[in-house]
């Protein structure tokens, strides 16, 4: 069948997206650092910020969805549903990465107008860890956008031919 390379590509994209989402979840969930200076101890964890919690939850959901979507049979009606679900999932992913980036930017640069000091000076390893998770999340967003276009194209090809 001449459709095979397209199917393989779609499958490959979904596996990549699964990998990116899983790594984003795990890296963010394991970010934790405790810093001691003088008598004050400063502990930074991903659950301190609701934005990072949202990021972990969304990426976990997306990983589960990607795993299930790998096994949907081709040509069934579920494939059409997959396009809608792909759009929803891309939407969730972009909002989660955007929220996490917003809070991470405040953490790194602070906000002098609001009197918020940056925290990356005190917990640099936590900041690097979070940066890695955000990079994985961003990769997941990009791959899912490509996958969404791909799903729409493949469903359209079935209908316009």
């Amino acid at each position: 069948m001449e459709k095979n390379p397209k199917r393989i590509l779609a499958l490959l994209l979904r596996v990549l997206a699964l990998g990116a989402a899983v790594s984003a979840t795990i890296v963010m969930a394991t970010s934790h650092e405790r810093a001691n200076f003088f008598t004050a101890s400063f502990e930074a964890e991903y659950s301190d910020t609701p934005a990072f919690k949202y990021f972990v939850i969304v990426n976990a959901v997306v990983s589960a969805y990607s795993l299930i979507a790998l096994f949907v049979p081709w040509g069934s009606l579920l494939r059409r549903l997959l396009v809608t679900l792909d759009l929803l999932v891309t939407m969730l992913l972009t909002s989660s990465i955007s929220a996490a980036l917003a809070i991470a930017q405040v953490g790194k640069k602070g906000n002098s107008h609001a009197g918020w000091l940056p925290i990356c000076g005190q917990v640099p390893k936590y900041c690097d860890h979070v940066t890695g998770a955000l990079a994985a999340g961003f990769a997941a967003v990009i791959i899912y956008t490509i996958l969404l276009m791909f799903s729409v194209h493949s469903v359209l090809n079935d209908l316009l031919n």
């Binding site: 301190d48 040509g75 759009l87 939407m91 909002s95 980036l101 917003a102 405040v106 906000n111």
Partner: protein, 201 residues
Amino acid sequence: MALQNGGKTEGEHESVPFSKPKGRWLLLTVRIVAFLATASATIVMALNKETKTLVVATIGSTPITLTLTAKFQHTPAFVFFVIANANASFHNLLMILVEICGNKLDYKGLRLVLVAVFDMMAVVLASAGDGAATFMAELGKRGNSHARWNKICDKFDSYCDRGGWALIASYIGLSLLTLISALSMIRLMKPKPANQPTTIP
């Protein structure tokens, strides 16, 4: 390939004028409401500014005042929110104009596909703007005790209120945009004519 389907000829191969498919007015109405929602979110957030003068100390009988301003430009998340919503409302406006005035605009049936793709992109962009602004607003409202960031909404309550209204309008716009995107995709998926060989993908 002779297209025999009756109401929904969509100009696939020739220059068949883009005749009115079902649900065209529904889509147009939803697009207009979504445009109003995203445009109002942009405008409300862009004009969001509050100045407060606090008396810090009193020397003798002259009070020393400190003027603090809260503007949306102070926060990159809100700047992104304004930009994303401005883009979404511009997209809505463009699609409304194309819908109303561009009946003859078609290129080998690609018009519906392009509209659907652009709708999806607008949904993604609007959701990113909303996500960033929501969590930044939550941070401003509740602060973060772990990072020792104080909340600012108790001092700048009308700034926070207006920001909240802009967020609500933007969420309405986002849900309508998802609806529009779903409707555009449904429009693409017209039923297959009966005399076509079923291609098993």
